[in-house]
Symmetry: C2
Subunit: 299 residues, 2 copies
């Protein structure tokens, strides 16, 4: 089975920020017709009048280039904050409101799915990281996810996504936690699903040298998985390198892993981040070369 391949617009951050800029690149330079929008290009907290105009552009321009926006995901800017697990409940409320705005903006732009990481609790003075989220924080998070699914229904979305991250202070970071979370949000008006990332499930400093495995995540959570993020990485950090870098992820082997887990019918998005100071031309060349390799494996 061919696996649908798209690209997260993370490579466009602070560079090709409008659809008039990124849509032609995606079609002509990358030869792709599927993207995942990034909230690093548009912050849903911007004033409504601006968002409404941008949403109209997002409905019109990508289509002119034959490019479809599958979903919209939280990027670097919003991920910098503790979001729904900030120690101050008022800032959790703000993050919940931010997501509600993100849903309405996405729906207005014709984007049917929204997702990303959920949040992080604060660190302790001694640097010791707990294995488990305190119950009251977990319960609060689930309550917010259930409310957010209602917001998503009101906005007109079809699916919401949790992206597990490899940090003890974020949630979920293990397969069991992810399964339990999916159970705990069963039956919401808009369903929550999972988006595992190839550089998260394989982060050896957290999971251990012989336990970090994308295959386990995909196989054990298959019914809950709606899409997958792929990146090149060395399993030592969540690198988000492109496939011109030397790393541990082989695209052909990745495709086999998706197939064995029975999830090769879910779309896969390349998500790569570049240092802001790297020059534009080399970024374009590197993303294009990476897409060629991935297409060869997945197409």
């Amino acid at each position: 089975m061919n696996t649908a391949l798209g690209v997260n617009l993370s490579f466009c951050v602070k560079r090709w920020v409008t659809p008039e800029l990124w849509a032609p690149l995606v079609r002509d330079r990358l030869g792709l017709d599927l993207v995942q929008f990034s909230f690093d290009l548009v912050d849903p907290i911007w004033p409504d009048t601006i968002l409404t105009d941008i949403a109209a552009e997002l409905r019109r321009v990508p289509e002119e280039y034959g490019v479809r926006i599958h979903s919209a995901f939280i990027g670097l800017a919003h991920y910098t904050f503790n979001q729904l697990l900030h120690p101050d409940p008022r800032i959790r409320d703000y993050a919940e409101n931010w997501l509600g705005r993100a849903y309405r903006f996405a729906a207005e732009a014709g984007i049917e799915r929204v997702g990303g990481p959920l949040g992080a609790i604060a660190s302790r003075l001694d640097g010791r990281e707990q294995e488990n989220l305190p119950d009251r924080d977990y319960d609060d998070l689930i309550a917010r996810m259930r409310r957010l699914a209602g917001e998503a229904q009101n906005a007109g979305l079809e699916e919401l996504y949790v992206e597990p991250t490899p940090l003890r202070r974020e949630w979920p970071w293990t397969i069991d936690q992810a399964r339990k979370m999916m159970e705990d949000v069963t039956g919401t008006p808009v369903p929550w699903r999972l988006c595992p990332d190839w550089g998260h499930a394989t982060f050896e400093p957290l999971y251990g040298r012989y336990r970090a495995s994308m295959e386990d995540w995909l196989r054990e959570l298959a019914p809950h998985i709606g899409m997958v993020h792929i990146q090149q990485t060395d399993f030592q950090y969540d690198r988000h390198w492109d496939f011109t870098e030397a790393g541990a992820v082989d695209p052909e082997a990745a495709k086999a892993v998706l197939r064995h887990a029975g999830v090769d019918d879910r779309p896969v998005f390349l998500e790569v981040f570049y240092p802001f100071e790297r020059d534009d031309r080399s970024v374009l060349d590197a993303v294009a070369a990476s897409v060629v390799k991935l297409k060869h494996a997945f197409g």
Copy 2:
């Protein structure tokens, strides 16, 4: 002359996010009494009622620990966007409003100086980067900087800072551009000054192998320099490593560079960023070890 050494709270991002968490770390773990606050800990766009409470805590808690906040700087989250040089003038207005809120929040928290990078123009489809900012964009930027100095005066601030970054799409990225910008904002009600960064001035892919030099920036712009950011780096990217990493910056040599340029009376702030997934304890150990090295050189 001893050089005042402080730490930018970048190492606390999404970890030790409240003053009750970071102030004891700064005093007891790092043995410092001077910090630069980061807008990655508090987003000035948060609702006023929340900001007012946080500002009151920032006036009270650090002082209890004998820690002084020298200034507040833009962090990763806001730097992710094009800010004052976004192609849409309404988003430039939003960024200007964001800075006005940042000034009022800082003043309310008892912080007298605010700064950071100013913005980035969008990239071109062909990836070619212009050497110069278009005149209309530059003039608009200067007009905004002059207006912002008025906002800063109204808020009660004492100084504003530009942090030059090593990108052709941001501004200023050369010594001559920085000098011209300082001339073009002369006489504003609150003065604009410069904050060079050790990993920006030395970025060889932009400036060239034999031209990238922190010493040149410090010597030629000395009258305009109000503070300096230091980091470990390899001059190949803007690494923001700490001083446990192998790099090209030697703290003793850095101190000599500051002295020769006649700017060793300006405070120096360590600014280090860690992957979000790195564990808390190793971050604390690494920052503490770095501060020991810097104190030895600067103290």
